[in-house]
């Protein structure tokens, strides 16, 4: 292994391997950079170098952050966005799994419907919003539908890939042993397709959150997206930045939680698989 490291990074661990390169290895330089940049940000405002409504000081952003994290109105604002995100995510994921399995199993359906799907997939999401406003209005139905549409594609495509990669030989073996079809599906296809489904769902989760926010920016009257845009109009930059930070942390946490859920489910599916043998 050391051999690989050395030949890959000849300029870090040279034949004159010095203590200096060992120090860089430990990674404090990156953290220092972040600290320096944050300090520069704060100083740029506090020394008066930058004096503008659109460039808030780090300290005021942090204040707004603390205020927002403890405020009820912010909690309900994030709550409503999360509600729409979750509804759309679940709807899109379920549809995606159904369509993915269907396309994978019935190749003719695939041939007929895939071009239509491809057209929708390559269309940028904001382009779909105004037409849907005409058809669905500007309430929750619109936003949930759009989130579902966006969440649908990664799940559908990944599920399709998962169904396809199941070795047909395994299925033939099951047929030879006259294993009932449902059992074959659960024993063979489910465990190997599940990781793909989860991979697609994880991507969709991130997309769901951001699309929920985008729809609120374009057609909202409440929610995080609407809040951020209103703060922009009101030139209240510190609140705006604070909301963005909380949004980013939220996205990160959701992703991590989902990864844990994914690990648990895959383990459960494996147990199920063993129990059915």
């Amino acid at each position: 292994m050391q051999c690989l490291l050395v030949s890959r990074f000849p300029h870090v661990i040279s034949l004159k391997s010095s203590r200096r390169s060992r120090l860089y290895d430990s990674g404090w330089t990156g953290i220092l950079l972040v600290v320096v940049l944050l300090a520069a940000w704060e100083l740029s405002v506090s020394t008066g170098t930058v004096r503008s409504d659109s460039w808030p000081a780090l300290s005021s952003v942090l204040t707004a952050l603390v205020h927002g994290a403890t405020s009820e109105s912010w909690a309900s604002m994030f709550g409503s966005t999360l509600y729409r995100m979750t509804c759309g995510f679940l709807l899109g994921t379920v549809l995606g799994i159904v369509v993915g399995v269907l396309f994978g199993v019935a190749s003719y359906v695939n041939r007929v419907l895939m071009p239509t799907l491809e057209i929708f997939r390559t269309t940028p999401i904001p382009a779909i919003v105004p037409p849907l406003i005409f058809l669905l209005g500007v309430d929750d139905e619109l936003k949930i539908t759009i989130v579902a549409l966006a969440a649908f594609f990664p799940v559908a495509l990944n599920t399709l890939a998962g169904v396809r990669q199941v070795d047909p030989i395994h299925l033939q073996v099951a047929q030879t042993f006259r294993v009932p079809r449902l059992k074959a599906i659960l024993r063979i296809q489910l465990p190997s397709t599940l990781p793909y489904v989860f991979a697609g769902a994880r991507i969709s989760l991130g997309i769901s959150l951001i699309v929920a926010v985008v729809t609120e920016m374009l057609a909202g009257s409440e929610g995080v997206g609407y809040f951020i845009v209103s703060m922009e109009y009101a030139m209240r930059a510190d609140d705006m930045y604070a909301a963005i930070i909380i949004l980013s942390v939220l996205g990160y946490v959701l992703n991590r939680l989902f990864v844990l859920l994914e690990a648990k489910c895959i383990r459960w599916a494996r147990v199920l698989h063993l129990r059915l043998t």
Partner: protein, 270 residues
């Protein structure tokens, strides 16, 4: 292309091309590390064909990589033509075991060979093409110069790698088990090819192999390493007359006795 001659240190002969002096290699820290090579002293003379053999895991490939300047030695040093080796030096090219991974898949066979020497963008494409063709002809692949490596068989890919190495016109070639992943018949063909090239160009060759037969057939001298942590067990002189024929040499008594001694010592658990 010859490096300026360094003043001879005491005990060094003019014909000593590659000198491995007291090389030791330990992976990891001194306390909990794995010592691959305890200490090896070896000298390769200019123009000779030397092989290094030994049991699996004895560090022969590691030793070659150190000699090639790709890996640093923990203790000791390597000298090429009197100059210390700290990084891959001028006049030396190393050929890797995983030849199919060593050819660039985005380049044609000809462009792969050209990579060996086109450091300077100022080189004329016509002249470089001529040089590439010459070395591809030497390995019998001139007709395939516009193909991509992944379109060729394993043996052909290895020949492209050889042509590329030769195109750099080195003084010494280091070969790291180059024939271990080809089938037996292709291996014999490649043996013939490498001996042919060696006798035609006069290049020095240092070959690492686990195949004792191969070492005896090809080399002038054979260095036998012990198992890990390795030292040089014995240096064998191979007096078999050249040209050597793959069919009849297998029945030659001198060949067989050398092979016998080498093989029994390699397989010896001690």
């Amino acid at each position: 292309m010859k490096a300026p001659a360094a003043p001879l240190s005491p005990g060094r002969r003019e014909s000593d091309l590659l000198v491995i002096k007291g090389v030791s290699k330990t992976y990891g820290s001194a306390a909990q590390g794995v010592m691959a090579i305890r200490t090896v002293d070896l000298t390769v003379r200019a123009g000779e064909f030397m092989s290094i053999v030994g049991p699996s895991g004895c560090g022969k490939s590691t030793l070659l990589q150190i000699a090639a300047g790709l890996l640093p030695a923990t203790v000791g040093e390597v000298q090429l033509g009197g100059t210390k080796v700290t990084s891959p030096p001028e006049g030396m090219v190393c050929l890797f075991q995983q030849y199919s991974r060593s050819l660039f898949p985005w380049l044609t066979v000809e462009d792969n060979v050209r990579f060996a020497f086109d450091h300077h963008a100022s080189l004329d494409r016509g002249k470089t093409g001529e040089r590439c063709r010459r070395y591809l002809e030497m390995v019998g692949l001139a007709d395939f110069r516009r193909n991509y490596p992944w379109e060729l068989s394993g043996g052909m890919q290895q020949r492209v790698a050889i042509a590329r190495a030769l195109a750099a016109e080195p003084r010494i070639l280091l070969l790291d088990e180059p024939f271990s992943s080809v089938d037996a018949l292709t291996r014999l063909e490649l043996h013939g090819l490498i001996v042919d090239i060696w006798s035609r160009t006069g290049v020095t060759i240092l070959l690492v192999t686990h195949d004792v037969d191969e070492a005896v057939f090809l080399s002038d001298r054979i260095a036998l390493l012990t198992k890990r942590p390795s030292v040089l067990a014995k240096l064998f002189e191979n007096k078999l007359p050249r040209p050597r024929d793959p069919v009849s040499s297998g029945e030659d008594p001198d060949f067989l006795s050398l092979r016998h001694e080498l093989l029994s010592r390699v397989l010896d658990p001690r």
